[in-house]
Structure formats: structure tokens, C-alpha cells
């Protein structure tokens, strides 16, 4: 499993990628949430870098946010305060949830090393008026990226970037569709690490590795332990420990609907002679985020995933104080349980209290 090991190494040591970019004099633009179009950053000749958290207890962030604000966001702020994001030339956020909106204001006020920009995207999908609004926001964002990079972003460059990023999405989807098999050739934890590594890497390299990987694992021999097939959902999981926990308790995580995985790559851009329009429609026709409307579309997307992958159970892993997913779980639960058993769990982003989680997951899986 040469390629797999290579990708795992990149996942374990993300700083090597940063060092390469810095050595090549590339500007790095961090982003969080899926309504920041990476293609625009890339077409300006800069590197879009998805910001992930680190599993550690919250330190100073509690005094800037109160302790009742999403742990993932507080963790990002802690890392910024610890100068761990100083390699970014800018951070770009977008309009998803309360905590991200707070991060924008608090970051700009208290983090001096990296400026923060926010894209104001609609929260209603499939609406023509929303497309116009988002288009204008992205035109403004394009100007900001041109300023930062010193390069003009041409339509050609945008088309090329779209093709490149679409290829990554297509390959990740192709890889993960292999998990529809009775015996998936990669585990849930491996899939998450591959997805995150691909998001961090330069896309040309990622695409090359993914093509090789798909060949490599195609006929991989895995033992069939006849475990119940599980779909994991929730907002963002940047530490595979949770997925490994489910695997350890006897569940086979065959599909994960996370911001760090399926939500990112499940859909493709539709071909369009106007690349900005293509980008607008790609983002606003993709019903994956719990912060967006109509909620019914996301419900359909979730249940379709569950049935395509033939799952026996659904587990929600909601980060503490993540309001969108906590609400969603409450609202969907009864309906979901009519077709698939569903377990709703709350986790600390710092992963304390794993013992209790284990017990509940184990009980759920035994029941399936």
C-alpha cells in the first residue's frame, strides 16, 4: 500500500506542505466553511488552505468567547493566539453559523498577524436572487484576492482552477464509492485522513496520488467481519479518533457526511462558459450544510447517502455547542428513525470523556 502510506504521511505531517509553499514563495490563504470558493484563490496564484483544529483543551479562547460558543471555533482561535496560523497571509470565512461570524469579528480585533475577510453568502439555496447577491460578493472577493496576490484573475485561470478542483472532488468521490461494496476496501478512519490530506495538498499532486490510490486499493483484501454499516454525520471532525472509536466498537463506517469529507467532494461544478456563474451555482445548488435552506433538501441528501451505502445505522457526532447540527438532529430524528436507527451524540472537540461515548456507541451497535 505504497500510495496509501504516502498519503498517511502527508496527513501526519502537514507542515511539510506549508514549508514547500513557503519555499516556493507562494501566498497561503486560509479558509473555513465550504462557501469560500477555493478556485478563486487558486486562480490568483495563491494556495487555499483549509483550517482544521487540533485536539487539545481550550486555553485562552474562553476569555474572548464565552465557554458556551462552539468548541471548534474556540480551538481555531486558540491556535491563532499560539501563532500556529501565522503562516497564513489571510483568513477567509463565510456566512454559515453564529460561531464563525463571531470568529470574524473577534479575530480581526485580537489577532494582529493575519487579517480576516468574510464572504457574505446567502443561506437559501436555489434562488435566482441569491445567485445575484452571491455573485456580487464573489466579485468583491475576487478583487480582494487580486490585491493580495498582485495578480489579475482571468476567466481562463478560473476555468482551469475549476477543472483542477473538480478533478479532486471527482476522484475522492470515486474512491469513496468503493465503500458501497459489501467489504469496503478502505476504513472510515483512512477515508477521513485521505480526504483531509487531499484538501491540504496542492491539487495536482493530490489528483495524481488519488488516481494511484484508487488502483491500489481496488483489489485490496480486507477481512469481512460482518459489522453493521454506519453513516456518521455532524459538522466537522478533524480527528479520526472518533471514527476509530466506532470501528473499535464493532461498527463499519462506510460513509461519513462531514465538512471534512463527503460534504466537500460529493458534488461537481456544472460546465459553464462563465466560470464565476459556474462557481456561484456550484455552491448554491449543493444541499449539504445544516446552516442552509431548504432543510428538506439536506434531509433528502442525507437519506439518499444512507440508502446508497446501504447503512444499518446513523450516528450524529455533534461538537458541543454546535447549534445547527444539534437542532438538525432534534428535527430529523423522528423521521430518520422510521427508516434507519439513529443515535445522537455530543462530543467535546478536545475529546475528553471518550469513555462515556464508547459505552453509548457500543450499546447502539450491539442493537443493530
Amino acid at each position: 500500500m505504497k500510495t496509501l502510506n504516502k498519503i498517511m504521511d502527508i496527513y501526519d505531517n502537514p507542515m511539510q506542505i506549508i514549508d514547500k509553499f513557503k519555499a516556493a514563495d507562494k501566498k497561503i490563504v486560509g479558509y473555513r466553511c465550504l462557501y469560500v470558493p477555493e478556485e478563486i484563490i487558486h486562480a490568483a496564484g495563491m494556495v487555499p488552505y483549509p483550517t482544521f483544529g487540533v485536539t487539545q483543551p481550550i486555553m485562552t479562547a474562553d476569555s474572548y468567547f464565552q465557554p458556551c460558543v462552539c468548541e471548534f471555533v474556540r480551538n481555531l482561535f486558540d491556535l491563532a493566539k499560539e501563532n500556529k496560523f501565522d503562516f497564513l497571509d489571510e483568513l477567509v470565512l463565510c456566512n454559515t453559523c453564529d460561531a464563525i461570524r463571531h470568529l470574524y469579528s473577534i479575530w480581526n480585533r485580537y489577532i494582529e498577524s493575519v487579517p480576516c475577510y468574510i464572504i457574505n453568502n446567502p443561506q437559501k439555496m436555489h434562488d435566482e436572487a441569491g445567485y445575484l447577491f452571491y455573485r456580487q460578493e464573489l466579485e468583491n472577493f475576487k478583487i480582494e484576492m487580486e490585491k493580495l496576490s498582485g495578480n489579475k484573475i482571468t476567466d481562463d485561470a478560473l476555468q482551469q482552477s475549476i477543472e483542477l478542483y473538480d478533478e479532486t472532488r471527482r476522484l475522492l468521490k470515486q474512491l469513496n464509492e468503493l465503500r458501497k461494496r459489501d467489504i469496503p476496501p478502505i476504513t472510515g478512519a483512512e477515508s477521513l485522513k485521505i480526504a483531509i490530506a487531499s484538501m491540504l495538498m496542492p491539487k495536482k499532486e493530490a489528483n495524481e496520488l488519488l488516481r494511484q490510490l484508487i488502483d491500489e486499493v481496488h483489489d485490496r483484501e480486507i477481512e469481512d467481519d460482518n459489522c453493521p454499516r454506519i453513516l456518521i454525520t455532524g459538522s466537522i471532525i478533524d480527528d479520526p479518533t472518533i471514527i476509530e472509536l466506532v470501528q473499535d466498537m464493532g461498527g463499519n463506517v462506510v460513509v461519513d457526511d462531514l465538512c471534512s469529507s463527503t460534504k466537500y467532494y460529493w458534488y461537481q461544478t456544472k460546465k459553464n462558459s462563465d466560470p464565476m456563474d459556474a462557481i456561484v451555482r456550484f455552491h448554491l445548488e449543493r444541499d449539504v450544510c445544516a446552516c442552509m435552506h431548504p432543510s428538506e433538501n439536506r434531509y433528502d441528501y442525507l437519506t439518499e447517502l444512507a440508502s446508497e451505502f446501504d447503512v444499518d445505522g446513523i450516528i450524529y457526532f455533534n461538537i458541543k455547542y454546535c447549534h445547527p447540527f444539534v437542532y438538525e438532529a432534534t428535527i430529523y430524528r423522528k423521521k430518520l428513525e422510521q427508516t434507519v436507527p439513529t443515535l445522537i451524540l455530543e462530543t467535546d472537540h478536545s475529546l475528553s470523556g471518550l469513555g462515556q461515548l464508547k459505552t453509548r456507541v457500543q450499546a447502539f451497535i450491539e442493537m443493530l
Binding site: M59, T60, D62, S63, S352, G353
Partner: protein
């Protein structure tokens, strides 16, 4: 003239006798169920040590959780004020105070003139206070006053991860069953407490000379970890539990 400061805490009652800016005597009694009785006993003891007749009734000011039970409104004062006045009396250069008591943990920021700039309190939960430590002492079968010294023997970095005192207790019990040495567990407990206190001080960004008051300041285990986390050397006075009562006694002099 002699004045008295009474700090009626949830765990212990402290009485201080002040004579013209000098602490003449003090006494500490467990508050228990009957607050008035505890106060009477502590008063009697302190007066006796000072050589003052029990018939004398020096003017007093009361602070602490139980102050309303034993004093009219004009003779009550908040803990924040008393902590500050008491601390500045002991060390006029202090600009930060951490009071770690039985049920409440308090951080106060003041300027060199003694004006209170900011304060923060942790009172919703037991973690980080004397009640928590007492429960842990029972579980580990050690005396509360020995906990600090024993923990200093540890060179490991055991984590007690539960945020809640109730869950922490079961975590500790399972560590005992796994034969984890007492001094390592104690260090983990102290680390957990110190982190909560550190989080509190972070809310108001304490700086300069900082004094630790309240019963837990006697626990060298907690204090040494706090020093590490805060990158400072906390002032720990000889009798940290009576600082609040000293402040109350000084206020009694101002108000009489």
C-alpha cells in the same frame, strides 16, 4: 481601637481582631450547620487569644457566603472588596488577587491605588474549590492538608480530564483501582483545579504581583502548577484563609 472582621465561608468561619492596623489575633472554626454557633465560638477563641474580655463587643463587619445571617446590612461587605483590602494590607504592591475558597473561586484585578478594575467568579460548579478537594481527599484516603506535599513527589503527567467534579470523582476511583500511585493522581487533580483557576484569571488578564488567598493557597501542589501556567510567582501569605476577614476588620475600622 479594636475592630473585628468575620468571614463566614461555606466550609470555615474566620475571625480576625485588628487593633490600629495590626492583626492582634485570629481564629478559624468549621462553619458546619449552625452558622451563629460557629461564629460565636470563633469570636470567643480570637478574643481569648487577644486577652480581651468576652463582655466587650467590638464593632465588626461580616463578609462571606453566610454574612447575611449574622450581620445587619450596614455591617456587611462583599468578598471582592474584603479580599482586595485585606490583600493590599499584606502587600501594598499587589495588582492581582486569586481567592480559592470552599465553594467559590475569585480573581480580582486592581490598580496600585486599590481601585478594583475587574473581577471574575466561578461559582456555578465545585471544580476548583475546597469542596472538590475534600471529596478527593476522602476518595484517596489522605488528609486534605497533606495533599499538596504528597503530590509534589510525582514526576508524571496524569490527566484528570472530566470538567465536572462528579465525573472527576469516578475517574479518580477508577485510577485507584488501576493502582495508579496516589501522588500521581493528586498531581492530576491539582492540575485540573489549577487549569480551572487559570482559565478564570485569563478572563481578566491578571498581571504584576499576584497574591493567592483562601484555604487552597496552602496547597503547594496547586500553587506550583498555577505558577507554571501563569508564568509567575504567586505571593502566598502566612495565613491565606484570613485575608478576607482582615479586609472586613479594616472596613470595620473605617465604618465605625
Amino acid at each position: 481601637m479594636v475592630t473585628v472582621g468575620i468571614d463566614v465561608g461555606s466550609l470555615s468561619t474566620k475571625v480576625v481582631l485588628l487593633n490600629n492596623d495590626k492583626v492582634v489575633s485570629y481564629a478559624i472554626y468549621p462553619t458546619g450547620v449552625n452558622t451563629e454557633a460557629a461564629v460565636d465560638q470563633a469570636m470567643e477563641s480570637a478574643m481569648e487569644k487577644a486577652g480581651i474580655s468576652s463582655k466587650d463587643k467590638p464593632f465588626f463587619v461580616a463578609t462571606g457566603a453566610g454574612k447575611k445571617k449574622i450581620a445587619p446590612e450596614k455591617q456587611q461587605a462583599t468578598e471582592v472588596i474584603c479580599d482586595t483590602i485585606g490583600s493590599l494590607h499584606i502587600n501594598p504592591k499587589v495588582t492581582g488577587i486569586i481567592d480559592i475558597g470552599g465553594e467559590t473561586c475569585r480573581a480580582i484585578k486592581c490598580d496600585l491605588k486599590g481601585n478594583i478594575i475587574d473581577f471574575a467568579m466561578n461559582d456555578k460548579c465545585a471544580s476548583g474549590t475546597g469542596i472538590f478537594l475534600d471529596a478527593m481527599a476522602k476518595a484517596l484516603r489522605v488528609k486534605p492538608e497533606e495533599m499538596g506535599d504528597i503530590s509534589m513527589k510525582s514526576d508524571k503527567d496524569i490527566e484528570v480530564t472530566s470538567m465536572c467534579a462528579v465525573f472527576a470523582e469516578s475517574e479518580v476511583v477508577s485510577m485507584i483501582h488501576r493502582k495508579v500511585p496516589k501522588h500521581d493522581i493528586l498531581k492530576g487533580i491539582h492540575k485540573s483545579i489549577a487549569s480551572r483557576i487559570y482559565g478564570l484569571t485569563n478572563r481578566i488578564l491578571l498581571e504584576g504581583e499576584i497574591i493567592a488567598t483562601g484555604g487552597i493557597a496552602n496547597n503547594i501542589g496547586v500553587v506550583s502548577i498555577l505558577n507554571e501556567l501563569m508564568n509567575t510567582r504567586l505571593n502566598v501569605p502566612k495565613n491565606p484563609e484570613i485575608v478576607g476577614a482582615i479586609g472586613a476588620a479594616i472596613l470595620a475600622k473605617e465604618r465605625s
